[in-house]
């Protein structure tokens, strides 16, 4: 009886540990989302102070990554998790790396937005870029939601959305080149703009990675680099297995 109680106690503590680290990943996600949000706001409102503030606040994201990473190492060392628990810990370790990178890209956007705030703005106020930013923001939001709900279908949606983002980036890039050829005086501004679009496109890729980890975590299948059709098949198969309860 006593031994059983002890065993139960340990596994409850273990569950709490896993749950806590999962929650801190999501609060880190919330912080990253806010950083991205503010960086984009700094661009659309031409608010250089906000942009620099975002750059400054990136240390918070970094600090969270380090602390979650330590917590994961501790769980691996002391609990030796297996199967689903192990997948969860691995997925978390990978997810926070991508979240931290998203934070870095947001920092970059903040700095560029601060620089662009003081130069002349096009009449469209960077509409294409803001559009791209909106899609990327939705991707990050969707990826974190999928992580919170362990929702592989939602994850799949985000993976699919990455193609649109890539296309949008491509078109901003081409447009930038055209502008630069037409009027070399715009080169500095257009370069900044291209860098910003590039950062956003990278954020989309990171969001996509997080979704792939969600699929790995839930179905135990590695779906990196296998193409969207195959990912779709894996998710379909995986959810059928879950539904049939085996």
């Amino acid at each position: 009886m006593e031994v059983e109680d002890l065993g139960h106690h340990i596994s409850r503590r273990f569950n709490e540990d896993l749950e806590r680290v999962r929650n801190s990943v999501l609060s880190m996600g919330g912080l990253v989302e806010e950083q991205l949000d503010r960086a984009i706001k700094a661009l659309s409102d031409a608010d250089s102070r906000l942009g620099l503030q975002v750059a400054e606040d990136d240390v918070k994201v970094n600090r969270m990554e380090v602390s979650i990473d330590e917590e994961c190492s501790r769980i691996l060392a002391t609990r030796a998790p297996t199967a689903g628990d192990l997948r969860l810990v691995i997925a978390i370790i990978k997810t926070i790396t991508d979240l931290e990178r998203i934070g870095d890209e947001a920092e970059k956007i903040g700095v560029l937005a601060a620089r662009l705030a003081s130069v002349e703005r096009p009449t469209t106020n960077y509409r294409e870029l803001r559009n791209l930013a909106r899609h990327v923001k939705q991707m990050v939001h969707g990826a974190l939601n999928a992580f919170a709900r362990l929702d592989t279908k939602g994850a799949l949606e985000v993976v699919k959305a990455d193609d649109t983002v890539d296309e949008e980036y491509e078109s901003i890039y081409r447009q930038g080149i055209t502008f630069m050829m037409e009027d070399p005086r715009t080169i500095t501004r257009m370069m900044d703009l291209t860098w910003m679009a590039r950062a956003l496109e990278r954020i989309g890729d990171h969001a996509k990675n997080i979704c792939e980890y969600v699929i790995f975590m839930v179905h135990g299948k590695d779906v990196r680099h296998i193409g969207i059709k195959n990912i779709e098949a894996e998710v379909e198969q995986g959810s059928r297995r879950v539904e049939s309860g085996s």
Partner: protein
């Protein structure tokens, strides 16, 4: 104690049965057998009824029961009655539940019930609409995993005040306020309201005030310029001296009001907290005190009890101190006194202005930081305030994470205290280096 009649009849049946068995035994012999037979009959009948009762309680129809009177008939009648009552009650609760569901469904505010672990127990359709929660999957998930804004996460773990404003997760330009209300046993209700419209209105109002002030300032500068020239013109007829002096005073007052309005809108619309520049409070207070000492108003004393400095924005801190001292000096008669105190306390540092002025009636204290609010309109204008000083103090203080408390007694004087938290307080070490 009297036996209920149903039990009496039951005992009568048993006694009759036993009596008949004994009589037959006496007549035919073998009384033991007769009695056993009678008891078996009785037990068999009882078992039949118990079986029937069991079936009835299982929800089956009653069968093979012929009595219309006696113990068993009454037991069955009472079971029927209880069941009918339970059915009615169930129907009533169902109806009530449906009504509650329908009314919470019709609410425009989102409602979410959480347990002590922030896990979602229930939410209404408005919560789905405002936050994008999915009734099929999200029950049991933690709310802060789905609504991840850092401010909200911090608020959820330590709710205080009237809720928190966060950007809407669904609508890009939308804003929501969330308020957590604890109730019952370890349960909490989160109320979510869409304030996008109010936020837009508020912004329009602010923009209007800011634009209007800016637009009014340029013509006013021109007018004041000409009035200055007029006032200094030696050829001006003597009859015009008083009107021109009055014009000069009023133009100057208008300039002050506009300046304060612009300052206030700037403070209101700033989104980030004030910066963390090192500000030497003692050095800032001395010139302010000197300025008011030379005005011939009440006696102004300054008491610096700590060498603490503040981390903040210099111009805003100056405006806090200046406005409070100015306020006190204006509402204190020349025979009274104003004390300026800068001291440390357990929670950080406090700046206080204590006057022996006219005081504020208690019921008006909460309102004095409103824009253009005047305790005594005639008097305030006479002493030449803009009506914006305390509003500026309040907003500037908020940007420094500080708090304003006002104590006052009518006719005896007022004390205005600005409390700054530890995080904003710094000390200059001997080497002249700022240390936290």
């Amino acid at each position: 104690m009297t036996l209920p009649s149903r039990w009496a009849s039951q005992f009568a049946v048993l006694a009759g049965l036993l009596g008949a068995a004994l009589a037959l035994g006496w007549w035919f012999g073998g009384a033991g057998w007769w009695v056993s037979g009678a008891l078996a009959l009785y037990v068999g009948n009882t078992l039949r009824h118990v079986h029937a009762l069991d079936r009835v309680l299982d929800g089956h129809k009653r069968f093979l029961l012929f009595e219309t009177r006696g113990l068993w008939a009454e037991i069955f009648a009472r079971v029927d009655k209880l069941r009918a009552k339970a059915r009615n009650r169930k129907k009533k609760y169902h109806r009530l539940l449906r009504e509650v569901r329908e009314s919470t469904g019709a609410l425009s505010d989102g409602g979410i019930i959480l347990n002590s672990n922030h896990e979602i127990l229930w939410f209404n359709p408005a919560a789905t609409r405002l936050l994008g929660l999915d009734p099929a999957t999200d029950i049991g998930h933690r709310l802060d995993n789905l609504l991840r804004h850092p401010d909200f996460v911090a608020y959820l773990s330590a709710p205080k005040g009237d809720g928190i404003t966060v950007p809407s997760p669904k609508d890009e330009s939308g804003w929501l306020t969330v308020q957590i209300i604890p109730y019952g046993k370890e349960q909490r209700l989160a109320i979510v309201r869409d304030i996008t419209h109010e936020t837009k209105l508020e912004r329009t109002r602010r923009d209007f005030v800011a634009n209007a002030s800016h637009e009014l300032r340029s013509p006013l500068t021109v007018i004041s310029g000409y009035i200055d020239v007029l006032a200094e013109d030696p050829d001006m007829p003597a009859a015009w001296a008083t009107p021109v002096a009055e014009m000069e005073r009023q133009a100057e007052r208008m300039t002050r009001i506009l300046r304060d309005l612009i300052e206030l809108t700037r403070l209101e619309s700033a989104e980030t907290a004030a910066g963390h520049d090192f500000v030497d409070v003692a050095a800032m207070l001395k010139p302010i005190a000197t300025e008011f000492q030379g005005r011939g108003g009440p006696a102004v004393a300054i008491e610096i009890e700590t060498d603490a400095a503040l981390l903040g924005k210099e111009s805003e801190l100056h405006s806090i101190f200046y406005n409070l001292v100015n306020n006190a000096a204006r509402f204190t008669p020349a025979t009274g006194s104003v004390r300026i105190v800068w001291r440390a306390d357990g929670a950080g540092a406090v700046f206080e202005v204590i006057d022996t002025g006219i005081g504020i009636p208690e019921e008006q204290i909460p309102r004095v930081t409103e824009r253009f609010y005047r305790v005594d309109p005639g008097r305030s204008r006479a002493v030449g305030g803009t009506g914006l000083g305390l509003a500026i103090v309040k907003h500037a203080l908020q940007r420094h994470d500080g708090k304003l408390t006002i104590r006052s007694r009518e006719g005896e004087g007022s004390t205005f205290s600005c409390h700054f938290p530890k995080e904003r307080v710094a000390f200059r070490s001997a080497a002249g280096q700022a240390v936290l």
